[in-house]
């Protein structure tokens, strides 16, 4: 009779996913990290030293501001929309339509999204032209669609739906009995939000905001399609450093910038996971 423990084969189903992650996430990350320390004469820290160049510092700060603004605005607006969905009919048309739309729109970025904005509110867009005919000129101070303010507006187009998708489960976890219990104990609506719903939703809200931050920080295609000149944000600087055919072609430097992004996104994602764990404990 054979002895010993039977080896579980449950993990076999996850192999395709693990291979995919290894090839398209782990391996590129290792290559980028290694490349960031590689110079013409072997190992070097010069690529990281170059991160202090003024235009890189500016791009980094811009990226952080863009990510923070769109994360906070997207989180607030998305949370309001999620709350409206959660308090409506759970099998209603509104919920089905909005959640389905959010599922699509959260992934709707890149050239298509940039063109949608250019065609509607761009300087030749039909909405802008129509408003101009009615003496309403929102570009009177200059065309802002192609700078950071424009990016903020366009990013919100996918940030709000993403917030709805990641925050809705938490709002759904809030039980109506908690509000009624607060009422019967003598509490007002303000008391309920201050002592019960607020603290319960705070970790999920903060976690979702961090996810939106990471999402905006790493977004590239939309910005690339909308902004042709310069590199006001870090992903565009990375692109410039890789693809430039003139003096700025610095693949090692691009990798050092990418490492900065990877580290920030990794930290933010870890915080998100921690907060989600707390949310799951309270709002199952």
């Amino acid at each position: 009779m054979m002895g010993g423990r039977r080896v579980s084969l449950d993990w076999i189903g996850a192999v395709p996913f693990l291979v995919y992650v290894a090839v398209f996430l782990f391996l590129p990350t290792v290559i980028i990290a290694a490349g960031a320390f590689a110079g013409a004469n072997g190992l070097t820290l010069s690529n990281f030293a170059n991160l202090s160049r003024p235009y890189i510092v500016t791009a980094t700060v811009n990226s952080l501001i863009l990510s923070a603004v769109t994360a906070v605005a997207g989180a607030v607006l998305g949370a309001l929309l999620a709350y409206a969905i959660a308090t409506g009919n759970p099998r209603g048309v509104f919920r089905r339509v909005v959640t389905s739309a959010c599922g699509v729109l959260a992934q709707f970025g890149g050239v298509t999204l940039a063109f949608a904005f250019i065609a509607t509110i761009g300087p030749a867009g039909f909405i802008y032209v129509w408003m101009l005919q009615h003496h309403l000129d929102f570009y009177s101070g200059g065309v802002w669609l192609y700078d950071l303010r424009g990016l903020e507006l366009v990013y919100l187009y996918f940030q709000i739906p993403l917030m709805v998708l990641v925050f809705l489960p938490a709002v759904d976890g809030i039980r109506p009995q908690w509000r009624e219990a607060t009422q019967s104990l003598g509490g007002s609506t303000w008391d309920y939000w201050r002592h019960i719903a607020g603290p319960l939703l705070a970790p999920a809200f903060l976690g979702s905001t961090l996810l939106l931050f990471a999402n905006a920080l790493s977004a590239y295609a939309t910005a690339a399609a909308l902004i042709n000149q310069g590199g006001p944000i870090l992903p565009l600087q990375i692109s410039n450093a890789i693809t430039s055919e003139v003096g700025l072609h610095e693949p090692g430097f691009a990798k050092a910038q990418a490492v900065v992004l990877i580290v920030i996104v990794a930290i933010v994602t870890a915080l998100y996971a921690l907060l989600q764990r707390r949310t799951a404990r309270w709002l199952q």
């Binding site: 009995q177 009624e180 219990a181 009422q183 019967s184 104990l185 003598g186 319960l200 404990r281 309270w282």
Partner: protein
């Protein structure tokens, strides 16, 4: 000082629901409900799903608005007073504890809203948790407590604010049978100790009959009968009450001259003025006995035992009479020999019976 004394030993107040009406999208949930609860009394509202019992409770709590009628607590009309000003403690079906607070914090919360000082709050919360037997669990969160413990904390939380009225909305329905019976007795003990007027809503007849001073059996938005549990069970006022509370044999018969003849036996009627004609007599299993002479000659009450269920002092015997199955509840000493297949002859005690018309005869729970 005992925990109960620590709760203040409040006496209850009178509660009146007067002609309460409520409709939801064309469906009548409450159709002129009237109920007066004496100070300190525990009244159970019992009825099937959709009968309006929870609506009555929610209108009393102020969680919903009535379309008509009045809610009067301690002589004060509170019909238009918001829920958070009514001084009502409420225990929900389940999952009502605030999950980010410990048991102690949950119980303290209501007092915190009433600006009770921290030291007093902690003392009273401790007393209340002691009262419900949870002194050892004060620092646990809801997800660290069993279902029964959570409901005890919810009870302590509701009572900690010293409410005028305590409302219990099917508080035991999510618990398993053993915990349910124990907690039911616990709730009654606590309610008697604090003396708060209490409305208990349930669809479980055993629960209602065991816990309440009076039971109101509800049907279609109205109370069909309100009375002590023994009266509800032994003298049901309507066929609905007779059939909803306890087991009932539905036996086809004929009403004639203020009596009903069922399978060769004439039984008196609860309502002797019932019109003559075919009818269904509602006969309790306790009113079905073994015939004294024991002769097994073919007849309308002779049949074969299908099953005997031991219930303790009594046993429930199911007898197939050929065209119908009848339940008899007998002393266990009389039922021990009645194994499946035994031929028996049944008789019926001449207790007054209710009549239900126009439905098929059967045995129903």
């Amino acid at each position: 000082m005992t925990a109960a004394a620590g709760t203040g030993g409040r006496t209850g107040v009178e509660v009146r629901l007067e002609d309460l009406r409520r409709r939801y999208a064309g469906v009548t949930a409450l159709d002129g409900l009237n109920l007066t609860m004496a100070p300190g009394e525990l009244v159970a509202l019992l009825g099937p799903s959709g009968c309006g019992k929870t609506t009555a409770l929610r209108l009393l709590a102020g969680l919903e608005e009535a379309d008509g009628g009045r809610v009067v607590i301690a002589g004060e009309d509170v019909t238009n007073v918001p829920a958070n000003k009514r001084e009502i403690g409420m225990v929900f079906q389940a999952y009502s504890l605030f999950p980010h607070m410990t048991a102690m914090q949950n119980v303290e919360f209501g007092m915190q809203l009433h600006d009770v000082g921290a030291a007093e709050r902690r003392k009273r919360a401790g007393d209340m948790l002691e009262l419900v037997g949870l002194s050892a669990h004060v620092h646990k969160y809801a997800n660290q407590l069993s279902g029964g413990q959570q409901q005890r904390v919810a009870l302590a939380r509701a009572l900690a604010i010293e409410p005028k009225v305590l409302l219990l909305d099917e508080p035991l329905s999510a618990l398993d049978a053993r915990v349910r019976a124990r907690l039911r007795d616990e709730i009654r003990r606590v309610q008697l100790e604090v003396g708060t007027t209490t409305l208990f809503v349930t669809h479980d007849q055993e629960e209602a009959l065991a816990i309440a001073d009076r039971v109101g059996v509800m049907n279609a938005g109205r109370i069909e009968q309100l009375g002590p549990p023994t009266t509800i069970y032994s003298r049901p006022a309507t066929p609905f009450v007779a059939e909803f509370v306890g087991l009932t044999n539905r036996l086809a018969g004929t009403v004639k001259g203020g009596e009903v003849e069922v399978r060769g036996t004439r039984l008196p009627l609860v309502k002797p003025d019932t019109a003559d004609g075919p009818a269904i007599a509602l006969v309790r299993p306790e009113a079905v006995t073994m015939a004294a002479d024991g002769d097994i000659i073919p007849g309308p009450m002779v049949g074969t035992v299908i099953a005997t269920v031991f219930l303790g002092a009594t046993s429930r015997v199911t007898v197939d009479l050929g065209d119908i199955t009848v339940l008899a509840q007998l002393p266990t000493s009389d039922a021990t020999s009645l194994t499946a297949g035994t031929r028996v002859r049944l008789a019926m005690r001449r207790d007054p019976v209710l009549i239900a018309r126009d439905e098929k005869a059967s045995t129903e729970a």
